[in-house]
Symmetry: C2
Subunit: 551 residues, 2 copies
């Protein structure tokens, strides 16, 4: 083969928006063609967006997607392209679709390759829709023998492989010159290292270069960080794409396949975990709005750290002119809470309202007096305050077209320390995948250059302020302990015995785990949570509500 | 072989409650043994309950389950038993578990068979956890060659098979005398006919008798109706178990395998669709409470048909002494609504309260006046009324330990004609899988012997009563038309073009489908819905929130 000029397009797609996705793909093909590129590669299921979820069960959705692929193919004259889209399975036995990579050249579909390993864990449901591939053939183009695989196909390379098959083992028998992997690999805070290691492991095993292309963008809960990369045959990462940003970069693969030259060499720097989380959440918020045609957010600002962090992220995502904060003090709100909230709103230059809930709360409380007569103040009255706030925030949302941002953190969602239909309201949970201790770290990151969030908001003891002198620590263990136990149970799925053995009090562990399990019913009605960990509440964690285990 | 006495146990299990499940299984084994039974058969994953969902990812959960299987095995002396439980996959490649049938005899585990076909559509997620079986061996017991399969293994027998493999084809080569299928096959309103046909098709194909055992009981959204059955070699259903009820029934399989004798012959009658739905929902409500240790329900009673039907079902499920109705009239509530609601509460002899929302609504409305100043009454104010009701109902729920029953129907959930955090509140959605037209049919069924639900509630035009003289028909098409379009889109997944072609107005169809798609964000926060159709809102229907298709 001669030298092959390859372009990798790391782009942002909109699920079901075939016209938008096809136009973006076509304009990148045209631009690459002008640069003399031979082959341009797009990511997994780019034509329909990832994840399309049950839209894949609609024949019309598949038809529209197939037409878009054909339209894209017509632009592939004098250049080849690889795009991801579902392909109809012509065999009657098995599922009706494949997750496919279409190789487009000469104005038509020249070849199609199917995904073999279908992820079906955590947030993935691919076996719900797709038949696994069982035939293995490289793609030849301009003398270059390409082992073309899709995302998970390269991930069965650890000590406890999830699949019995390894598609690259089959393709390697056909002496490919290069691997190309098209992916839709969502962000989590430690994914960049894992992903790089997996790609290196593959190159070390098969000894040929690898082009890896990922999405960027956010799809409801899922955030795609990009981080596409190119590895030479020695498993050196010779180029890493930007994170959280669209980018197209081009390379020349030399005839001996040992050398790849980036046309404009740069390597994106690896960033720290809090910077990643910050950038992921900003992108997640921004795209939740843009892709639904909304621009304006509202949220309740309590003076506490959770709503402070969410407000700072929202301002960065949407602009200060598009964010409105509402302070909703009650008789239990401290003066400093109001002061801290106002100071933050002023620091961020956002419009804010102060709406007292005293009168509305008293009025609702009065409505149920015949029923509550003689009973002491308790959880019901605490929740009532939180719910009155929810009613007011949703009224503002409905009246002015704001999306209400939810400010719950993962620790309180885990143990049910929040009011359903109260502070659990919102269209999107921004920090619902951050434990309270991580919220503090993120606040410190936000304040890295100047005091955006008032320092008092960070240093004062957390409180829901729903009764006099209340502190979170009245009902919950210290957050450092709580979060350590939660992380072992939720992320690592450890047993009570193992958690206790790692140094926690037995009664406390049992109490925490019981709280987690008995609050599934609340979490089920929570807003979608932007996912930044390997195990977020939402579609990646599917627990029964009615069950007895550890509860 | 000699004659084999087989007992089939159709029981109700509690997910994760190993002690309860094991004791129930053991006591049935002991009772069968006393009757001289050779083999007793329990249903799929009976030891841990079905579906265990992500509890399967906890090693401790699997350990507890394995210990329960071993404990059960110790009671199988002088009798054999088949129980369903997860089995650990000893091979490092592939998923870590199998969905297994344990054959217990001589006080130990004699044999294990694994499920081949793993359902992963609608509400099913089995490939998330289990490795598919790939080796096929019959089980021999007392000279009887048993083809032992698990649920879906017999369901790949239609014109568009979902799987490439057919495990019974493999087992048939080993000349089995009989098929035994252990199942966890959830109810839907047409499932009984489908299930019977599938079992007949298998017997007609393989020409041997079949014992089919299913669960009963409810697991959050899923209701298991039982309907276990026995078919002779001629594909005659010689015995059908009760629906929605525990039952153990016994048979003698004669040596020539052509003749099966039921020890106490009866065949459960097939019931009409509305009777089934009624019984399913009553069981679903009852078990949601019992299995969580709750007994008392509360709901808002509007005088309309939805809350009337839910109240009648709740009274049947929990007893009139455990149900409390709350009337929450506003300035827009008509006199007849209050009268109808009171009449119903009296007919059903339930405690009821009348709590006006006028004062609380005015107070909240007043709180936001500085923000709303000069803007006309609109959706925000309508929603505010619904949300004030939600706050009051949840306050009662929190104060007295009631579970709030949600009264939304499928039509309004589909098009978003309901207030999130308002009338969409509740721990359980009782009729959220019934279209409005079906709610009317169910009301007629409830009134089949006497007027339980006041006839005026059934005959008056539906209204949310959130503004003067409001009718549902002001904003929505006629329910007969709406439901017909929704059913084509949701259950049948038809394209707009196909729906229009079947005789509906183009603009109307597009408007309805857009409403369905743009209200995913609301449904995502809805309570769990008792599933009675083949496609209910909830875990069986997974749609993106952020997407553009048809919206």
């Amino acid at each position: 083969m001669g030298a092959l000029r390859i372009s990798i397009a790391q782009l942002d797609y909109h699920t079901g928006n075939f016209e938008y996705n096809a136009q973006k793909i076509i304009s990148n093909i045209n631009a690459a063609k002008e640069e003399g590129i031979d082959l341009i590669v797009f990511s997994e299921l780019c034509v329909c967006g990832y994840p399309p979820r049950d839209f894949l069960e609609f024949a019309d959705f598949i038809d529209q997607c197939s037409r878009a692929v054909e339209e894209i193919a017509q632009h592939c004259v004098g250049i080849a392209a690889i795009v991801g889209a579902p392909a109809v399975n012509p065999v009657v036995e098995g599922k009706d679709l494949f997750n496919a990579a279409f190789f487009l050249a000469d104005g038509k579909i020249k070849d199609v390759r199917h995904k073999t390993l279908l992820p079906n864990y955590d947030i993935f449901d691919e076996y719900r829709y797709f038949e696994p591939n069982s035939t293995f053939n490289i793609v030849e183009y301009k003398g270059c023998r390409i082992a073309l695989t899709i995302c998970e196909d390269l991930w069965n390379i650890n000590e406890n492989p999830m699949y019995v098959l390894n598609p690259m083992n089959e393709l390697a028998k056909q002496q490919p010159h290069v691997m190309i992997n098209i992916a839709a690999s969502p962000f989590n805070k430690h994914q960049a290292e894992t992903r790089t290691q997996v790609m290196k492991d593959n190159v070390m095993k098969y000894n040929i270069p690898l082009f890896y292309v990922n999405h960027i963008g956010a799809q409801t809960q899922l955030i795609f960080d990009g981080g596409s990369m190119v590895l030479d045959a020695n498993a050196e990462v010779i180029d890493t794409f930007a994170f959280f940003r669209e980018e197209r970069r081009s390379y020349t693969l030399n005839p001996d396949h040992k050398d790849i030259k980036a046309h404009k060499p740069t390597t994106a720097r690896q960033t720290g975990v809090m910077e990643r989380i910050h950038n992921a959440l900003v992108l997640g918020v921004r795209e939740y709005f843009i892709k639904q045609g909304f621009s304006k957010a509202i949220l309740g600002l309590s003076g506490g750290i959770d709503s402070a962090v969410v407000l700072a992220l929202a301002v960065e995502a949407l602009g200060n002119e598009n964010v409105r904060a509402v302070l909703l003090p009650s008789e239990f709100s401290s003066r400093h809470s109001i002061d801290d909230a106002v100071a933050l709103a002023k620091n961020l230059d956002v419009q804010y309202d102060i709406i007292s809930i005293k009168e509305a709360y008293n009025s609702i409380y009065h409505s149920v007096q015949p029923q509550f007569e003689g009973l002491p103040f308790g959880i019901a009255e605490e929740n009532m305050q939180a719910r009155v706030r929810g009613v007011i925030l949703m009224a503002m949302s409905n009246k002015f077209g704001y999306i209400l941002l939810n400010t719950s953190n993962k620790s309180e969602m885990a143990v049910g320390y929040g009011t359903l239909y109260g502070d659990m309201c919102g269209g999107l949970s921004v920090i619902g995948d951050l434990y309270k201790t991580e919220v503090f770290q993120l606040a410190a990151y936000i304040n890295r250059e100047q005091e955006v969030i008032p320092v008092h908001t960070i240093t004062k003891p957390p409180s829901a302020e729903l009764r006099p002198d209340q502190k979170d620590s009245d009902s919950l263990p210290d957050y450092a302990v709580l979060d350590a136990v939660l992380e072992r149970y939720i992320e690592k799925r450890k047993s009570p015995k193992e958690i206790i053995a790692s140094g926690f009090d037995e009664a406390l562990v049992k109490r925490i785990l019981k709280m987690v399990n008995t609050n599934e019913w609340k979490r089920m009605q929570a807003p979608p949570v932007l996912r930044v960990s390997a195990k977020a509440f939402g579609p990646g964690r599917r627990m029964p509500i009615v069950a007895k285990y550890l509860s």
